[in-house]
Structure formats: C-alpha cells, structure tokens
C-alpha cells in the first residue's frame, strides 16, 4: 500500500470513529432501522430477573427455573453499491467524485466494523465489476477500501439498474444499502424503489460544480467517457451555459423528487465539500427523525 493511501486511511478512520460515536450515542437503531430484538439463549434464573421471561418448557424439563435472554438484532448488513463507471473519475477540484465515493465507503465501512456489522459491496460500471459478499472484520473492510481506491474498471457505461437487480436478488435479509453514484444513468427508478421497499436505502449522489454550471471556457470538444458522444461546448456562450444549467437542473430535481416519492434517504455530496462533515450532519439529522 502506498504511503499516501495509508495517510488517507488514517484520516478516514478518525472520521469513522467520530461518526460511530455519533451513531452509537444516538442509538444505532434510530439511524438504521433494524428488525428489533431477537432470541439469544436460555440460562438459569437468577435473582432479579424478570419473572415474565422464565421459559417454562425448559424449566419443567430441567427442574430449575430458566429464563430467556434476548439481544438486539445486531448483525446488520451494510451493502454498498458503488459506481465505478468512467464518469465518476471526474472532479473540477483536487478531489474527484470517485475519491469522495471511496471516502464515504471507507467511513461507513469502518463505522460498520466498530459496530460489528457485515460489509458487502458491489462495484459496477456497465457490468458488475466486483462482487464481495458481506463479511465481517476490519481487515476485510481495509482490503475493500484499498480495492476501491485502486480499482481500474473495464466497463464503459454505468448500469445502475443491473447492479440494483443483482443486489436485490442476493440480499434476503433486511440490510442497509448505500448507493454511491453520480446517477448519470437512466432507467433505474423502478428497481431502486423496489429495493427500498425491502431494505434501508440511502442514495448518495456525488456531484461537482461543473455538473450544474458549465465553466466559462472557449470552444472545447467534449467526449463523454461512457457513451462516447461528442459535444462542442462553449462556455463563453451565455445560451450554451443556460441550456446546460437547465438540463442538469431538471435532471437533479427529478432525482430529488423521485427520492422523496419512493422514500429513499438522499444525500448530495459535492466534490468540494468535506464528505466526513456532511456524513456526520446527515446522520445527525436522521437521528432526530
């Protein structure tokens, strides 16, 4: 691992710890809606235990009073659906969208480690680039983070629909699904709303300033990394900038509208934002709900 990556991870871990503290102090349950309590074991009744919880079946069999113990459903699955399509490798500032996504994934992953949750992930472009079934452990998460930072995708599109389909087929138990993408992909709403009915879905849209406002440049032929389309952009043209802004504003508003409509928690992250802080605020807000 290169030193820069280690440095990044250290920083990310700090953010993760802070985040976990927030989550735990507020009660994990309140942030991620688990199933409730589940049966753990039976043990001998001790003085002070709630008599209502005495398991009479076992008591009559054993001759001594036994009581049931419960625990909270602790083993949540955090499943990240991460966009690794070419368009995500863009950033007008020092940080690109992919790095933001990786950071969010790292923070959530490490937070999950501290909560003893399972972490699974899928990287997608126009195909499933990498599939990792949920597993526990810090080592597992760190290797995933490393993978994500250094992943070179082969696909050229961003087929979120396919990724969502795969995930919803695989995940039987209620999980937390985090979609990290720029959402520059179409026709995924049906699948996303379907997924959100069963799972706790958080859609994180990673945006860049240039996604909404085209910079005042001269004529530059642009090529889309995914579709290969060519656009002759001209930022000095007021008309062009207006059209561009309107187009993406419409797309963005549509996204927000749909998120609300399907009850999907949404978070927008700008590449120039402090992703850790934004995440922290996001979960604070969720806690209050």
């Amino acid at each position: 691992m290169d030193p820069l990556f280690l440095k990044k991870i250290k920083k990310i871990e700090l953010i993760a710890v802070k985040l976990v503290e927030t989550l735990i102090s507020g009660g994990y349950r309140s942030v991620f809606h688990g199933q409730g309590i589940e049966f753990n074991e039976v043990r001998e009744y001790m003085y002070g235990d709630d008599v209502r919880l005495i398991d009479w079946n076992v008591t009559s069999r054993m001759g001594n009073p036994y009581t049931k113990t419960f625990r909270e459903e602790r083993e949540l699955i955090l499943f990240s659906i991460i966009d690794i399509s070419p368009s995500i490798f863009y950033g007008s500032g020092p940080v690109n969208k992919h790095e933001v996504a990786a950071l969010v994934f790292a923070v959530l992953g490490l937070a999950a480690v501290y909560n003893n949750d399972k972490i699974g992930t899928v990287f997608f472009s126009n195909k499933i680039e990498k599939w990792v079934p949920p597993a526990k452990g810090k080592k597992h998460v760190l290797s995933l983070i490393n993978d994500l930072f250094s992943f070179a995708p082969q696909g050229t599109g961003s087929n979120l629909d396919l990724a969502l389909k795969t995930v919803s087929r695989f995940l039987k138990k209620r999980s937390i699904c985090v979609v990290l993408s720029d959402f520059k992909t179409g026709d995924y709403w049906k699948r996303l709303s379907f997924l959100s009915q069963k799972h706790d879905v958080i859609a994180v849209k990673i945006i860049d300033d240039n996604d909404l406002d085209f910079p005042r440049t001269g004529l530059i032929p642009l090529q889309d990394p995914e579709t290969g389309d060519v656009l002759y952009s001209m930022g000095v043209s007021e008309k062009f900038r207006k059209n561009y802004n309107k187009y993406w504003m419409d797309q963005h508003n549509l996204w927000k509208h749909n998120c609300r409509r399907y009850g999907i928690a949404s978070l927008e992250l700008n590449t120039k934002d402090d992703a850790g802080l934004k995440l922290y605020q996001f979960f604070q807000r969720r806690k209050q709900l």
Binding site: S85, P86, S87, Y90, N126, G157, S158, N159, D161, D182, K184, T185, G186, D187, N210, T217, G218, L219, I220, P221, L222, Q223, D224, P225, E226, T227, D229, V230, L231, Y232, S233, M234, V236, S237, K239, F240, N243, Y244, Y247, Q251
Partner: protein
C-alpha cells in the same frame, strides 16, 4: 484561358481529405476533453447534445473556410497563369483607302432598308471586319474631299469614324478627282507593297480642281489600283436627308445618273476594276469580290502570353486561413487545437 505552371502541385489536393480526416474528423482521436456530460442508458431524457448546436456549427463554418483557404493555397502553388494567344502578322498587309461619296444624292432611297449612303456604310463595315492586318483609311467627299481616317490598323476607331460621317458635311457636289487625290496623298508615302483605293460614288464629277482622269494617271504612276463602284438605280428616286450642320430636312425627287465611262476609265488606267451596284446585294457581292481578289498571303505567328495570377489566390488563401485562426481565437476562444 487558364493553365498551371506546376500542375504537379495540384496532387497535394489529394492530401486534403486525409488532412481533414486526421485533424477535424477526430472521431476517436485524443483531441477532446473527457467529460461526462451525458446520461448513460437513459431512454427518457433527450441528450444534451441536441440542445445547442451553435458552437459546433460555428466551428464547422470556420473550418470549411480554412480548408477552402488551404485548397486555394495549393492552387496558388500550382502557379495559375492566364494564357492569352495573339496572332502576330509577320508580313505587311495592304494599304486600302475607301473613298466614299457623301453628296445629297447618296440619300436616295432606292437601297433598302434606308438609303444608298447607309447601305454603303454597312457594307464597308462588313468589309473592314473581313480584312485582317490591312491598314484601312477613309476619305469622304462631295464638293470637297477630306481625309476622315488615315490608313490604320485601329479598326475600332475606323468603324467609329465611319459611323459619324453624314451626308452633305462637305457641301453639295461630287468631286471624284479630289477624293482620289486626297486618298493618293496618304497612300504615297506608305511602305506597303500593295495599295488600292475603293471608290464609291453615284454621280458625275462636277466639282473640284482635279479631274478624275488626271487623278487616275497619278494613281497609276504611284502603283495604286482603284476599284470603282457606281451605285444607284436608273430613274427617279425619292431623297430625304437632314443637313447635320443646320438641322434642316431636305426632301425631293432626284433624277441622276453617274458617268460610267469615267469610272471605267479610272479603273482601267490603274489596273483596277469597275463595278455597277444596283442594289444592296450587288454592293455586297462587289465588296466580297474585291476582298477575295486582294487577299494577301500572310505569315502569322501565334504569340502565347502568360500572366501569372497567383497573387490573388495567395491573398484569398491568407485571408481565409487568417480568418479561421482569428475567429477561433477571438469568437470561439478555443483552447485546444
């Protein structure tokens, strides 16, 4: 006519499609900024590409001008020249003077469409057109005789002058001897080996101090042939003309005839020929005959003149190419080339 000094340079034109392909048709080449501007697999939304095509159209426009400029530049390199061919006569032609009667009787309307005078003018005009490389002069006479144009190769001037002579400019009368004499004065000193006079008249010699016979004798001595043409029908004819100096219109019946004998003698003495022209067709034929009997074998050379014309092409090409550069830098504010 246009031609090229170095036509091989035109082969460079074949490179243009290749250059256009490699520079402007960069479908998959790297001269583009990778920037995600479209939505992958989105069937619902219209592509942003279709929203504003003006930048692309402007670029196409200026690039077309640029490539036209390059094409013009290659054409300039091929050395476009204007080639003009000119006939140059190495031999000297004949010296001819047409002596034309402009007495009032010439306005007799027995020659269609107008009168004798105008018919003669148009036939002479045709004659001038038919001759090449012969110096032709024009003498007009009635009571007086006067040189209108000395023998010249400048046929345009000659035709202009022919158009501008009018009846009765030189008084009322017919001074055939004077007309011949004036013509002889101007033929005397010329260097041509072949000299002849075409005399057109419709009347008797009734004025002038020199008799036609004497003038003919001088002509013989000078070696000048005289073709004499008597025109006009026998009998009475109606005349009408305007005196150009007073503006007065004269009308009347004219009954006159010309002295055929004198004209015949003049032609005989000088070795020429006498013709009688009763109408326009006859007059025409007479001139045709004179023209063919006096044909001179001439040796000519075609001189090819070449005038290089690439300056205009170079300026046009520079203008187009510079326009493209400046337009792209200022209006389009292009960054990547």
């Amino acid at each position: 006519m246009w031609s090229f000094e170095y036509p091989a340079a035109l082969l460079l034109l074949a490179l243009i499609p290749i250059l256009i392909y490699s520079t402007d048709w960069q479908k998959k080449s790297g001269a583009r900024l990778i920037f995600g501007f479209s939505i992958w697999g989105n069937s619902a939304a219209e592509s942003i590409r279709n929203m504003d095509r003006t930048p692309k159209n402007l670029l196409i426009f200026t690039r077309i001008l640029f490539w036209i400029g390059v094409t013009v530049l290659i054409i300039a390199a091929a050395g476009p020249t204007k080639v003009s061919k000119r006939k140059i006569y190495l031999t000297q032609g004949a010296d001819i003077i047409i002596v034309l009667d402009e007495s009032p009787s010439m306005s007799a309307q027995d020659f269609k469409p107008e009168n004798r005078f105008e018919a003669a003018k148009s036939v002479i005009k045709q004659f001038i057109h038919d001759r090449k490389n012969d110096k032709i002069g024009l003498v007009a006479f009635s009571k007086e005789a006067s040189l209108i144009v000395p023998p010249t190769l400048n046929y345009n001037y000659l035709l202009d002058s022919l158009k501008n002579i009018h009846i009765m400019e030189l008084g009322n009368g017919t001074a055939i001897g004077m007309g011949i004499s004036i013509a002889l004065i101007h033929l005397e000193k010329t260097s041509s080996k072949k000299k002849f006079i075409i005399l057109l008249t419709d009347g008797d010699n009734n004025a002038g101090r020199i008799l036609p016979e004497n003038a003919a004798e001088i002509a013989r001595q000078l070696g000048v042939k005289i073709y004499t043409i008597g025109i006009g029908k026998e009998g009475e004819t109606f005349i009408e003309f305007t005196d150009i100096s007073t503006g007065k219109v004269y009308e009347g019946i004219y009954k006159g005839k010309f002295d055929e004998k004198v004209l015949q003698r003049i032609a005989e003495v000088t070795g020429g020929k006498y013709f009688y022209a009763g109408d326009v067709e006859m007059l025409n034929t007479i001139f045709k005959r004179i023209d063919s009997s006096e044909k001179i074998k001439s040796i000519t050379r075609i001189k090819v003149e070449k005038e290089p014309e690439q300056t205009l092409f170079i300026i046009a090409a520079l203008f187009l190419i510079l326009f493209d550069m400046i337009f792209r830098k200022t209006v389009l504010k292009e960054i990547v080339q």
